[in-house]
Symmetry: C2
Subunit: 414 residues, 2 copies
């Protein structure tokens, strides 16, 4: 067996995947295996008992959004008696930021990798402040979610449909990387490129100018607007490199707020998990590290395909948000070349003479060099119902790479 | 006389100026001293006889737009018999990119420096291809100008009015500098920030959704959309630092395609001029240096207030457009600290640990160090009617700094 060859195949498939934003649909109609009482979540598999505060909070809110529960107590009762099921987004072609809860009636983006034909899904970004993905579920949160799920998603869906060909999200990311985004925690430029594409389509719809104006304002003011289509695009790229026989490349990194989960291309759908770390970062006013939940969210799909923490060198302005220095940002990217299989063909870094971003994490190199992947992330309160408390940097636990390498040796009898 | 103190006053006034985009008006109604047969232009004063090809071309087109001439021959005849007057934009509180021709019926942006109360004006950006500012004047050019002057400018003007408070252009520039723009030749991010501000206002107008959609598409697709409001903002900032008794800081750098012109804060409205250089750069397909006109345009107002070529370090992606390397881009900015009086308080460069951009060119330092200001620029064909042939880098002639320093010594009896 030729591991190098297998890794080249896997990383080339990731890089050649061309994810196009094709439309908007209701989760239960679009996501494979979705059903009325199923609640998808970020990271590896999780039970109600072991669920972290922010994920419990998001589940409570989602049950209220679905009309299954009127309040927290009813939602908790449903969860405790097993009346609802939980499953990882990743096992349904889906991803979600932070808690990442995807419930049956939520509208989702549909992204298709037109090179290889696989699809991926992600819900809509709710903006800042008290939001479901950070574990908040007050009336205000649910009200905003309902607007996003109705007026907002309808207009965005119609705009995408009216475009005819959809939006090339890989090209958008490539451009945003030249405009100071690393496309995980900093999506300022990407969200404006998304707005640029949407604005003429939305204005032309001319059904209700008040709503259209509000939609364009929400897309423009939310510098994370494009994060969710970007994450779906990254999922579509990562999945293209998954299940390559003999490959030691990481095809999934995802956290559920309790555990950090890893999957490896040549090891199929098996999860390797260990307790997630608490990120180091900058805290919103009134919060400290003591308020922080351990690492949470599927957004590490960005680092999995060579952007986010791996593209820090192109986003020096982000350091004022995650707590670092421009020099460290460059070093973060340089370090990631040590543990990756390729330099991306499409995602390049002007400040490093247009070098491709480090892409395709090789678990052998992680162990050999003792270097863990770098991740940029938002930080949720450890308590349900609170929301975001900061943003920062984190690494996965080494144990999951060790376990995966042992499993690889066993499977392939090395 | 304390030159240091005078320079601190001048550069502080430039940095404390807060230019707000306040509205749109017809040039003849808004610009001080504008009259029916007056055609303003970029750079220092110029006669028809000595006018370069692109400026002649732009004058011909402007006379056709005004309805004074039906074709090139009629326009040339008017110019030759002295039936129209020419004057520098700069002497009327105005600036314009490239040929910078501002004629009486053109719509202009009005920017007000709310700190000191002075106003500045700039016409609308026409986008790419065959455009008046590059000296083209075909039917297609005039048709597009008419659309910009009617539908486009009306909707933008209404949107600005509807905003109530206008747009803080200094804040926009500061944000764009963190998104890979240097805000002279690269205005990708700034133009999207402008779109983000405009889009909800335009969509809400709901008069003709087809036109509104077209307007948003034009703003979004033209990565130079915001250049003209930015130039007016820079003019408002530079003028705030002009006429400070005893100051050796540059308050105007501008080129008319024949001469490069310089004005100094402590030397009033006197121009120092010498032949403009031909920029070095990258050529559009089918063109070479032999097609290039010497340096042209008022857009050096950006470098005058500390952005553009002075902020190259924050815009590494620009090198693929102007012909340079990311390393040289950083060096360009570092070099400019040698000849400037201050580091900008609002315009900062993340990659240089958020250092303020080099601001306030001191003619003493230019002479003492033998370092000329760096300028990013578009390059026009030397022939009227052709248009843009490339983009690149250029420096002003040393002679004008020498003359200015001599004049300074004479005036102040040093």
């Amino acid at each position: 067996m030729d591991i190098e060859q297998a890794n080249t195949t896997a990383v080339t498939r990731m890089m050649e995947a061309r994810p196009i934003l094709k439309g908007v649909a209701v989760a239960r109609e679009a996501i494979p295996g979705m059903k009325p009482n199923l609640f998808l979540h970020a990271g590896p598999p999780m039970t109600w008992e072991r669920m972290s505060g922010p994920m419990r909070g998001a589940m409570i809110g989602a049950m209220m959004l679905e009309g299954l529960a009127k309040n927290e107590a009813e939602a908790v009762a449903l969860a405790e008696k097993g009346a609802v099921e939980f499953a990882p987004n990743h096992e349904h072609g889906t991803v979600g930021p932070m808690a990442g809860v995807t419930s049956p009636s939520m509208k989702v983006y549909i992204v298709e990798n037109v090179t290889h034909g696989n699809k991926a899904y992600c819900n809509f970004n709710e903006g800042y402040g008290k939001v479901l993905r950070m574990g908040a579920y007050s009336d205000e949160v649910i009200k905003k979610l309902k607007w996003i799920n109705s007026d907002f998603a309808s207009i965005i869906g119609e705009a995408i449909a009216a475009s005819g060909e959809g939006l090339d999200v890989r090209a958008l990311i490539a451009e945003a990387l030249h405009m100071g985004d690393e496309s995980h925690n900093r999506n300022k430029a990407g969200s404006l490129l998304y707005l640029k594409w949407l604005a003429p389509l939305v204005a032309k719809a001319a059904k209700d100018s008040g709503v259209e104006s509000e939609v364009l304002k929400f897309v423009g003011d939310n510098a994370l607007s494009v994060l969710n289509p970007v994450m779906a695009a990254c999922k579509a790229m990562a999945d293209a490199g998954h299940n390559v026989e003999g490959s030691t490349l990481v095809s999934t990194m995802a956290r559920n707020g309790t555990d950090f989960g890893l999957r490896v291309s040549g090891l199929g759908d098996r999860w390797f998990t260990a307790p997630a770390e608490v990120p180091k970062g900058l805290w919103f006013p009134g919060f400290t590290e003591a308020d922080a939940n351990p690492d949470i969210g599927d957004s590490t799909i960005t680092e999995t395909v060579g952007i986010g923490g791996f593209a820090m060198a192109t986003a020096p302005a982000i350091v004022s948000f995650v707590g670092s220095t421009p020099k460290e940002a460059v070093n973060a990217t340089l370090e990631m070349y040590e543990i990756t299989a390729a330099e991306h063909k499409t995602f390049t870094i002007p400040a490093l003479d247009f070098r491709g971003t480090p892409t395709g994490i090789d678990i052998r190199k992680v162990i050999e060099k003792g270097i863990l992947p770098r991740v940029n992330t938002g930080i949720a309160s450890k308590n349900a119902g609170v929301g975001q408390v900061g943003a920062g940097l984190v690494r996965p636990p080494m144990a999951i790479f060790e376990e995966a390498l042992v499993a690889f040796a066993e499977k392939y009898e090395l």
